[in-house]
């Protein structure tokens, strides 16, 4: 095996960002069909420096700087994928995925259903707020794609999941949108296994077990949920934090199992509330866990506005630990 772009010693901590970088590097070494496309990913190493050093190792075709044209390069990745390549495309910010919306929903998502062509494509989308990005550099676009049959969506919350889910996404024979949270890039560190591993697509994860209230969430919000759970534990309420990890296909069994156990559910996401993924989960609970529920299913999410720029506005916009605590207290009293 060739040496890694960035060497990591056993036992050394890596960030969420480095975990993504490692996954790309290892998959490119493992499988020569894997290649990268995007804006400024070559000599520059990408806006967030995830592919720094990659072009030196893999050359300018496997780490391919594209013109500024998201629809064009996603379309190209679809074509290459159908020819048996494994493209991983980078959106410079998830927000710009709207420019490739048509290619993703009409071409990538439907090709296999319509005429049987597999499209093993990964689109990396650095998403989310809390970074003073304003309306066009903070978006959570997962809700749009949640409603497009044929796509898989994943959103890791830890370095371990970030690496394992990206590897699984690259090895998946379908188009997968990989939502990596910008806020977590350099804020989380962990020691990762030395050996190759994947986190299977479609499997949620209990990030903290509990018996009284289920908090169902994903992405950066997982950490708020954990904070809230710590607060509530002091009040004698044990919250279970369920990290979806995969948004499509949803791990219904695990969601239902958790809620049947606790009888109470909070759904938490950073995306806008109306039409967000929380709505679907609430609806699934209403359909399948109605008899187990001991209280209303509460959604905590951003309000229905674009992401505002100014600090006090963005703070108001983003869900807060205190929102979760308040909801948990309300539910506990039910």
């Amino acid at each position: 095996m060739t040496t890694a772009v960035h060497e990591t010693k056993a036992g050394q901590e890596v960030t969420y960002l480095e975990a993504i970088s490692q996954a790309l590097d290892e998959e490119m070494t493992r499988d020569e069909r894997v290649f990268l496309m995007g804006e400024d990913i070559g000599p520059y190493g990408g806006a967030f420096r995830i592919t720094e050093g990659f072009q030196k190792k893999y050359g300018e075709w496997r780490v391919l700087d594209t013109p500024l044209a998201e629809s064009g390069f996603v379309g190209a990745a679809i074509g290459a994928a159908m020819m048996g390549m494994r493209p991983v495309v980078e959106m410079q910010f998830a927000d710009f995925i709207s420019c490739a919306f048509d290619q993703i929903t009409e071409v990538a998502a439907k090709n296999h259903y319509r005429w049987g062509a597999a499209v093993p494509l990964v689109i990396r989308a650095p998403f989310g707020g809390g970074v003073h990005g304003g309306p066009f550099h903070s978006e959570c676009p997962e809700g749009w794609f949640f409603h497009s049959p044929g796509l898989k969506l994943v959103a890791p919350s830890t370095p371990y999941d970030a690496k394992g889910l990206l590897k699984a996404a690259i090895r998946d024979p379908n188009p997968v949108i990989y939502f990596e949270h910008k806020f977590l890039y350099r804020r989380l560190k962990a020691v990762l296994p030395v050996e190759d591993y994947i986190v299977p697509i479609g499997k949620a994860d209990v990030k903290r077990p509990g018996t009284d209230i289920s908090v169902i969430t994903y992405g950066a919000m997982v950490h708020l949920a954990l904070e809230a759970a710590a607060v509530m534990a002091k009040e004698g309420i044990e919250m279970e934090v369920l990290d979806l990890r995969t948004l499509i296909p949803l791990d219904r069994e695990m969601i239902f199992e958790s809620v049947r156990k606790t009888s109470k559910a909070i759904i938490l996401h950073e995306d806008n509330k109306t039409g967000g993924i929380g709505a679907e989960i609430s609806a699934l609970l209403a359909e399948d866990c109605f008899d187990s529920l001991d209280g209303p299913v509460i959604r905590i999410a951003a309000p229905d506005t674009p992401v505002p720029f100014s600090t006090p506005l963005e703070e108001f916009f983003l869900p807060k630990t205190s929102d979760i605590v308040a909801a948990a207290r309300k539910l506990a009293a039910y």
Binding site: W61, P67, G75, M83, W115, G116
Partner: protein, 334 residues
């Protein structure tokens, strides 16, 4: 473009005869489908290439077995040359299991990677970036394969056309862009579609060689395609080929095309690609009237056999609706 006899002689007799056969087959098949439509036996709309058959017959005939085509909705000839049978086409129109998409999609939305055909997406120009990606895969793997794609004059107005042309040119990809300039996009004349006289003017904006060819002249299109495919295969990059032609039917069979001046249609009737090809074959001494009648009979029989095949082919059953949203690993191209 004036073809000299020496150039024409470079096309082998059997190749020219075979193209003539496909020209006839295309016309007869589409006429038969139109007749079925008028009898109310077709599900959905019917789009024909009437008067434009030479284009896709010719470009498809230039290709090697493992080359790829990404056709648009007036490329019936290319499907047939690639081995799709009349029976499959009619089954496709009828929504039968015997159609290449097994009823999942209809009419000209035929895709089949085994026969090197990328399925058409209604959203015009969407498959142009996809074609560049097919070419990119060839380039990445160092294969000497090429991809040919086609678009209408109207389709060139879409952003995806621009992004695909630019990317292909920047990376000198082995792709040939055909443009079927039939002077209308549905009811919209060229003058409301673009402010240039020749669509080929657009190629220059990308630093890509462009050519104009008489789209009703089988041999001319063939030679033009051959040159472009040859250059692409040799690593010399993409070419744009504008085929001047005319849509002789309505946009689809329900459209009487009153907006097209009758005189224009009369004029173009004189340039019908079939008699034109026949005159050529006679001039070259490759075939006579008797041969033409023979081919006519043969294709009629083949088309009737196709109708029979299609009618016998079963309809899919309701629950098949749920199959095929996602691909499995064994379906990935290798």
């Amino acid at each position: 473009m004036n073809l000299d006899i020496a150039a024409l002689k470079t096309i082998k007799r059997p190749d020219l005869l075979q193209m003539y056969y496909y020209l006839r087959l295309t016309r007869t098949l589409e006429d038969r489908i139109t007749a079925l439509y008028r009898q109310g036996r077709i599900v959905g709309g019917v789009y024909t290439s009437n008067g434009m058959e030479a284009i896709s017959v010719a470009y498809a005939s230039v290709l090697e077995r493992d080359d790829i085509i990404a056709p648009f909705h007036r490329d019936m000839g290319a499907f047939l040359v690639r081995g799709i049978t009349p029976g499959e086409v009619i089954a496709q129109y009828l929504g039968k299991r015997g159609g290449p998409t097994k009823g999942k999609d209809g009419n000209v939305h035929i895709g089949d990677l085994k026969r090197g055909i990328i399925g058409f997406v209604s959203h015009l120009a969407d498959n142009l970036p996809v074609a560049t990606g097919v070419a990119l895969a060839f380039r990445l793997r160092g294969e000497s394969r090429v991809v040919v794609t086609n678009t209408g004059d109207g389709g060139t107005s879409r952003g995806d056309f621009h992004e695909a042309m630019n990317f292909a040119a920047v990376r000198k990809l082995p792709v040939v862009f055909f443009c079927n300039n039939n002077q209308y996009a549905y009811s919209t004349p060229l003058s409301l579609q673009m402010a240039v006289r020749d669509v080929v003017d657009r190629a220059r904006a990308y630093g890509m060689p462009g050519e104009i060819v008489d789209g009703n002249d089988l041999a001319a299109v063939y030679l033009s395609a051959q040159g472009a495919v040859h250059r692409a295969r040799a690593g010399e990059g993409p070419t744009f080929i504008e085929c001047k032609t005319m849509r002789m039917h309505g946009h689809s069979e329900h459209d009487s095309a009153k907006y097209v001046p009758r005189k224009l249609l009369e004029e173009w009737k004189q340039k019908d690609p079939i008699p034109k090809a026949e005159r050529l074959l006679q001039e070259l001494g490759y075939a006579d009237e008797a041969h033409f009648r023979e081919v006519e009979d043969r294709v009629k029989k083949e088309v009737e056999a196709g109708v029979e095949f299609a009618e016998k082919s079963p309809l899919p059953e309701g629950p098949e609706t749920l199959e095929g949203v996602f691909a499995t690993e064994d379906e990935v191209t290798r």
